[in-house]
């Protein structure tokens, strides 16, 4: 898989994640009814774990996805490293929030599960992108090198 394909896939996933997070921010700000298959979204979104230092977790997610989306458009090493670090950090925080939902709140928000899946995929792609960028291009391997 080429780095270009990985960047494209990451951008698409980040856009989808931003859509999920943006929807949750919109519901929070407008007070609209939250579509929820598990029935636990309202409890989770109104819990005190739905904010970090006064900032809604959904808004943090939206910002995070936009950072990941932006990093997909830059080809430098800094962008690759930042993308991987942010994605892995998000996976760590998502895992903690999943624990909070299951063990402390006792309800699960399906939008959070979708976001968890997206951010995990992005982290995997970001690590793969690092690996691909590190590998020498195939054309640079001469027959003598592999002998």
């Amino acid at each position: 898989m080429t780095e270009r394909a990985l960047r494209l896939a990451t951008a698409v996933l980040a856009l989808a994640g931003a859509g999920v997070a943006g929807y949750l921010v919109w519901v929070r700000e407008t007070g609209a009814t939250l579509v929820c298959a598990t029935g636990g979204c309202g409890t989770v979104q109104s819990s005190e774990y739905a904010e970090v230092a006064g900032v809604p977790v959904a808004l943090l997610g939206l910002v995070g996805y936009l950072v990941l989306f932006s990093a997909a458009f830059f080809g430098g090493d800094t962008a690759r490293l930042a993308q991987a670090a942010v994605a892995l950090g998000a996976v760590i925080f998502s895992t903690y929030l999943l624990y909070v939902q299951v063990a402390l709140i006792g309800e699960v928000c399906d939008w959070c599960l979708v976001s968890d899946a997206i951010v995990t995929l992005i982290a995997m792609l970001a690590l793969l992108r690092l690996r691909v960028a590190q590998a020498p291009p195939a054309s640079s391997i001469r027959p003598a090198d592999s002998a």
């Binding site: 950090g89 925080f93 006792g106």
Partner: protein
């Protein structure tokens, strides 16, 4: 930069980011727990609570109350008999009361009880029970609203009311009621603390319905 150093940089960055967010989240949750909704002045002020128990753990007599938070007779008992009982026995360290909540009257019972049990982890179950009885509505008229629960219990208890440990505590109370042969509420068991409890026939919903049994157990 070597691939090992790049990976290390990514991991450090991820741990700093994830760890900071988790730390801030936990700090916010703990602050929320430390400042629940401002409690009203209550007859319970100054009395120790631990989970579902009210009063000193060293009290010589334990009284177990089985109640449904929608049950009007339970509310009446709480209004009439509970305050003098608290002043005369619990505040003085002579009786410890354990709340065993049941939810057989309907969905409002269940929602109210879950929240009260959840508040037990903050040692505020009795405050929530008192607050709910003060606001009791018609049976299953959906009077147990989110606003009511947030007002009497605070956001942390409301948020954790469906947690597995709440469900387990409720099941434990139901099991205890079955084993005690409890058929209606309010119902009581009484005994020396740490010893076998006896089911108490309740002759009245006023203090006179329970004081003789408490005095007899204290004297035994």
């Amino acid at each position: 930069m070597s691939s090992r150093r790049r990976l290390a940089a990514v991991l450090v960055g991820a741990l700093v980011l994830g760890g900071s967010l988790i730390g801030a989240s936990r700090l916010g949750a703990e602050e929320g727990a430390a400042s629940p909704s401002e409690p009203l002045p209550s007859i319970l002020d100054g009395i120790p609570q631990s989970g579902n128990a009210l009063g000193s753990p060293k009290a010589p007599v334990t009284l177990v109350e089985y109640a449904d938070l929608q049950c009007p007779y339970c509310a009446e008992w709480t209004h009439r008999a509970f305050p003098p009982l608290v002043d005369r026995y619990v505040r003085r360290g002579r009786v410890r009361i354990v709340f065993r909540g049941l939810a057989f009257l309907g969905p409002d019972s269940d929602r109210a009880l879950r929240t009260a049990v959840a508040a037990g982890r903050e040692n505020r179950l009795w405050n929530v029970v008192e607050g709910i009885y003060q606001r009791q509505g018609h049976e299953n008229s959906r009077w147990v609203t989110e606003a009511l629960l947030a007002e009497v219990a605070g956001p942390r208890a409301v948020a954790s009311r469906n947690a597995p440990w709440v469900v387990a505590a409720m099941a434990d109370s139901s099991r205890a009621a079955r084993m005690a042969g409890i058929a209606g509420t309010p119902a009581f068991q009484i005994g020396k603390t740490g010893e076998r409890l006896q089911t108490l026939p309740l002759s009245s919903l006023g203090p006179e319905g329970i004081q003789p049994a408490i005095e007899a157990t204290l004297a035994s």
